[in-house]
């Protein structure tokens, strides 16, 4: 992993570390025996069909879900809610049209929304928010109501909120879902910049690898209670996916994109999120 020796001197210590980790709901095992180290500056994608435990994987890292077995650390400490140094970008979820927040207020909540009381020091906060808005290219609609922004614009604000925590690890839960291609590229580009320029680790949960195929260093593919970790070209093969799914799956490469054909119950993985398992 070239990313493991990235700049900043933090390179060698993993940001996220799991040992023999497992998670199951009742009888159903989502994954178990997972050993994993994610390093600063590494873009790590988590793939798999619906119900394979992708989002639960993220919830474990966020401290919202306990591991069934094994141990895990993040930034060298235990997993707990509200961990400093973690940025989180959730799925795009529209805001009600009359939400009384402007774009800058939403980003502001990402900066200090967890603190008690009413915000008193105005100037420093305003500068911080302006800088974050500029960083994600949202300055032009800083004072627009969030309820009137498009999904893509809202999702840029999500990135700004996540960056406010100055995260050493950025956890993303399907952040590109329901965005148009232009905004998919913009948002994934911003996340990639945080990863490869600012040396944050990125854990990116998605059902669709193509929008981030150029950025991904390693992949965790979860399916049918099994998993595989490795570089995309090692994992995204007909042989590996057929083994994970327990049925013949074919992986095609076309102009730098990966198309998965023959997933159980679907015609093609590529561009058909509704047809997932």
């Amino acid at each position: 992993m070239s990313a493991a020796t990235g700049p900043g001197g933090l390179g060698r210590a993993p940001v996220v570390s799991l040992r023999n980790a497992g998670l199951s709901f009742g009888e159903r095992v989502l994954w178990e025996g997972l050993d994993l180290d994610i390093h600063p500056g590494e873009f790590f994608a988590v793939l798999g069909p619906n119900g394979s435990g992708k989002t639960s994987f993220l919830k474990v890292l966020l401290g919202l879900q306990d591991l069934g077995s094994g141990t895990a650390t993040i930034n060298g400490g235990p997993l707990q809610r509200g961990n400093r140094g973690i940025g989180y970008i959730p799925q795009q979820r529209p805001f009600a049209a009359d939400t009384p927040l402007r774009a800058r207020d939403l980003v502001g909540l990402g900066v200090d929304g967890h603190r008690w009381g009413v915000r008193l020091r105005g100037r420093g906060h305003r500068d911080t928010v302006d800088a974050l808005l500029a960083e994600v290219g949202s300055s032009s609609y800083a004072d627009a109501p969030v309820g009137r922004l498009s999904g893509g614009e809202q999702q840029r604000l999500r990135v700004a909120q996540a960056l406010a925590a100055e995260p050493r690890v950025l956890l993303c839960d399907e952040p590109l879902l329901s965005l148009d291609l232009h905004h998919q590229q913009a948002v994934s580009g911003l996340i990639n910049r945080q990863c490869h320029e600012k040396n944050s680790a990125v854990v990116f949960v998605t059902h669709e690898i193509n929008p981030i195929i150029d950025y991904v260093d390693r992949v965790l593919y979860l399916a049918g209670g099994r998993f595989r970790v490795g570089a995309p070209e090692e994992v995204m093969t007909s042989e590996v996916l057929s083994e994970l799914y327990g049925s013949p799956v074919e992986v095609l490469h076309h102009e730098g994109r990966i198309i998965v054909v023959g997933l159980p119950g679907t015609a093609a993985h590529h561009h058909h999120p509704a047809g997932e398992v």
Binding site: L62, L64, R81, G82, N83, I86, Y88, P90, R93, F95, A96, D98, T99, P100, L101, R102, D105, L106, L109, G110, D112, G113, H114, R115, W116, G117, V118, R119, G137, S138, S140, Y141, A144, P145, V146, G147, R148, L149, S150, E153, R156, R158, Q161, A165, H182, A186
Partner: protein
Amino acid sequence: MDFQSFMEAVFNFENYSELLPLVRNSIWAGAVLGLLGGLIGTFVMMRDLAFAVHGIAELSFAGAAFALLVGANVVLGSLVGSVLAALVLGVMGIRARDRNSIIGVVMPFGLGLGILFLALYEGRAANKFGLLTGQIVSVDNVQLNLLAGCAVVVMAALALIWRPLTFASADPDLAEARGVPVRGLSILFMVLLGVSVALSIQVVGALLVLALLITPAAAALKVTSTPLLAVLLSIAFACVSVVGGILLALGGRIPISPYVTTISFAIYLGCRILGNRRSSARPARVRTAA
């Protein structure tokens, strides 16, 4: 009733200067309630709790009616009823869907209980009616102090949880991930809401609490998205509605609530029209360059 006698019943300003001092307490009470209702209303809107307010009000009414029947303090009875109802909703109704069905089930039961207690009560009929439709004359010093005291406590608590509550209301997923105690805040807010509803019932009555806790905030959100301005407008609208309603109701012989609800509805209409102009004057979306 001809038009003239109708107008006399609705608007009557004879002996106004003599009547005014008699309702000084009520006007103060109205101002305090306006402040409280406008403040908490913005969160009610953000958290989508309008129906919950209605449900809490009916149980608060049952509590007040019970207190009236057994000769206890009516404000206290109404407080107990609404805080209990708010707690039930706060604990059981996490998701809006569950919450609405619980309200739909509990509300008629509360209303039925209230009607039962009122039917058994043999005191003045005005007391009965007042719980449902509001009254202005009956605020004495003790009640005013109780009301103001409760309002101060609720407002202080709101100020303390303002930021995390805003975060949790607008954006629960992210707030939870950032360590905001979303569930605890939700229950605490329901208690504060229960207290506010109980206080409001004393002036506008159980049926019309929405005019104080919802309409002003809904109107404010039509014309602004700036958080501070939304709160200030909401408070101003609520105060104008209640105090204005009391002043207009003074001479006439009908209850206060139609005045309050009409003023707050007129403000809402005005804001809606302004709001529609605002959104059509400006493109709904601001496009960004790639």
